[in-house]
């Protein structure tokens, strides 16, 4: 990490001002999250009289009921299946297409690349009704594929671009050597390009995993039975059912975002780099 003004000695006053500002803002970020997690341990009455403090009487059952129930795990599983399918399909389809754009000269390649880049300009929401009708007519409503396919398609522009730029920057000599040895494109892709592409595979993977894991509008439109719901839909149903029993809703929110938070802290470097680089590089 570089330091911008390391050459300046900060006065104590500046330092205090700095830390006070940072701590206040950190509190605004963290307090809602902490009170949510703690609220899940309270009774409704406790929550009402004492939303900020520690629970008077820890209601572990709020959490254990959820964790020993089937509902939570089913939603997590659905989200995971959809995300894994999305990531796998995105990486394989876009890496292959990007490879041709990076290495193969063919008529209309620039035109085709620009065609894919149209996808970067508008969100899936703009075409959500025709998408619904298409998925319905294909018989894919209420299936994982009904969510996965549009999701992958709308992510293609960005992932193709990331892969193509990466492939193009691999050292030229590799290519020369391989082709002199009589290696064809497809073998080159498998044995040279892909093994060298771990960083960009990770970036594309993280971006598409996070956006799939958090996605709401596509599953909302394409899935109609609760057994298929990924967690963002499931949590809204749960909230609808339990209404003002906030302590249960808070516990449910906590356990659903916990995996995200744990993974984030474990792999923070990769995730931050992936999400910002994914944005910047493309």
């Amino acid at each position: 990490m570089t330091e911008m003004s390391s050459s300046i000695r900060m006065s104590t006053g500046t330092k205090i001002y700095l830390y006070v500002s940072l701590i206040i803002i950190a509190a605004v970020v963290v307090v809602p999250l902490l009170t949510t997690a703690l609220g899940g341990f309270k009774t409704l009455g406790d929550l009402r009289t004492n939303p900020f403090g520690l629970p008077v009487d820890w209601q572990w059952s709020n959490y254990t009921d959820i964790l020993f129930g089937e509902r939570y795990w089913r939603q997590m599983m659905n989200s995971l299946i959809i995300a894994v399918l999305t990531v796998t399909l995105t990486i394989s389809v876009s890496a292959m297409a990007a490879f041709t754009f990076a290495h193969v000269r063919f008529f209309g390649s620039n035109f085709l690349l620009n065609y894919f880049l149209i996808g970067l300009m508008f969100p899936a929401a703009t075409a959500i009704l025709p998408l619904f009708i298409r998925i319905r007519d294909l018989g894919l409503l209420n299936t994982y594929w009904g969510v996965v396919l549009p999701q992958v398609a709308f992510g293609l522009g960005m992932s193709i671009l990331l892969f193509r730029n990466y492939f193009r920057n691999l050292p030229e000599e590799l290519f020369q050597a391989a082709f002199v040895d009589g290696c064809g494109y497809i073998r080159f892709f498998w044995h040279v390009s892909l093994p060298l592409s771990r960083p960009i595979i990770a970036t594309v993977g993280i971006v598409s995993f996070v956006s799939s894991w958090n996605s709401y509008i596509l599953p909302l439109i394409m899935l109609n039975s609760e057994t298929m719901y990924p967690w963002p839909l499931g949590i809204m149903v749960y909230r609808g059912e339990f209404g003002t029993e906030w302590q249960l809703v808070l516990a449910f929110i906590t356990v659903t975002i916990l995996p995200t938070i744990i993974v984030f802290f474990l792999a923070q470097k990769h995730i931050i780099a992936g999400l910002t680089a994914g944005a910047v590089k493309s």
């Binding site: 330091e3 389809v93 292959m96 703009t126 009708i133």
Partner: protein
């Protein structure tokens, strides 16, 4: 998460490099690779992105409930209805307001934090992490958490009002206040992402320029205003682009907070599309919203490219 990215923002797109990289045409297997590698992406993209967009334009000229074939041609009636609908006009206004708040509040906040957190003070990494955390959470989760925070009976706002001895505000139920409550959540969720962009930008700056300015006796503010800020301009543009694009597709966070209410005061274009087009299966009207959104996005992307890309 944004579905789109800033290609349009970040670079001349498909300009072929000088042919240095082009391979000799004798390489084996050019045809097989094209036949195997291109069609999957091409098919997926055409079927699920391009065709639906074209169909949206087509359906927007019909009154249709989505069953059978669209037969009731109404011309531009759907657009007329749309621009006379007060909920849609509120939605447009809200989308604009979100952009304004991002530009005048969120981005300066992110920039200010980035300049602090690009220094060598203790705890930098910790603060960066905390500020970035809301960005990784799903919009739906963030929305629900803040619905609790704002809750007038059980939430944190109720408690704070209790402490201050004032009447409990029900912010999300108040048609004048709700949109500001939503805006606050948007800033809470996204400032960390913009901050991270700026930190990355600051770290790639050429330090010698700043040192030169210091030697010339520039004050902290002067250095920031006349050296750092101009050098950050490409990051700044990127950040503006994300803010604009993100605000245009805002949906996930509104649903758990207000669902677009009370009295449609917090609708955005996409919540309007959902509430009026999807749930009532008014395919024509909903598609018209899609077309309006599409036109806005494409116009922004192109004008952005035209205005800014010349300099890069």
């Amino acid at each position: 998460m944004t579905n789109f990215s800033a290609t349009t923002a970040a670079g001349p797109v498909a300009e072929a490099r000088p042919s240095a990289r082009r391979k000799s045409p004798t390489v084996r297997g050019r045809l097989p690779v094209l036949v195997l590698f291109l069609p999957p992406a091409l098919l997926l993209f055409t079927i699920f992105v391009i065709l639906p967009m074209g169909e949206a334009a087509f359906y927007s000229l019909y009154r249709w409930d989505g069953y059978g074939l669209p037969t009731q041609f109404v011309g531009l009636r759907n657009f007329e209805v749309l621009f006379k609908n007060s909920a849609f006009l509120t939605a447009l206004k809200n989308n604009f307001l979100i952009i304004v708040v991002s530009l005048v509040f969120q981005i300066p906040l992110a920039l200010w934090l980035a300049t602090m957190l690009a220094t060598r003070i203790k705890g930098v990494v910790f603060f960066r992490l905390i500020f970035f955390l809301p960005y990784v959470l799903a919009d739906v989760a963030a929305g629900l958490i803040w619905r609790f925070v704002y809750d007038g009976d059980y939430g944190l706002f109720a408690a704070i009002a209790g402490l201050l001895g004032v009447e409990t505000p029900y912010v999300l139920a108040d048609k004048d206040l709700a949109i500001y409550a939503v805006l606050a959540v948007i800033v809470w969720k996204y400032f960390g992402f913009h901050m991270m962009l700026f930190i990355a930008g600051l770290q790639s700056l050429d330090r010698s320029v700043l040192e030169a300015a210091e030697i010339d006796g520039a004050t902290g503010w002067q250095k920031f205003r006349f050296v750092t800020l101009p050098l950050l301009s490409s990051t700044l543009r990127l950040s503006v682009f994300f803010a604009v694009v993100g605000s245009l597709q805002l949906f996930d966070m509104i649903m758990p907070l207000t669902g677009g209410g009370p009295f449609n005061s917090t609708q955005t274009m996409v919540t309007f599309l959902y509430n009026f087009g999807v749930t009532r299966m008014q395919v024509g009207l909903g598609s018209a919203v899609g077309v309006v959104l599409f036109v806005i996005c494409v116009t922004l992307a192109f004008s952005y490219k035209r205005i800014f890309m010349r300099h890069d």
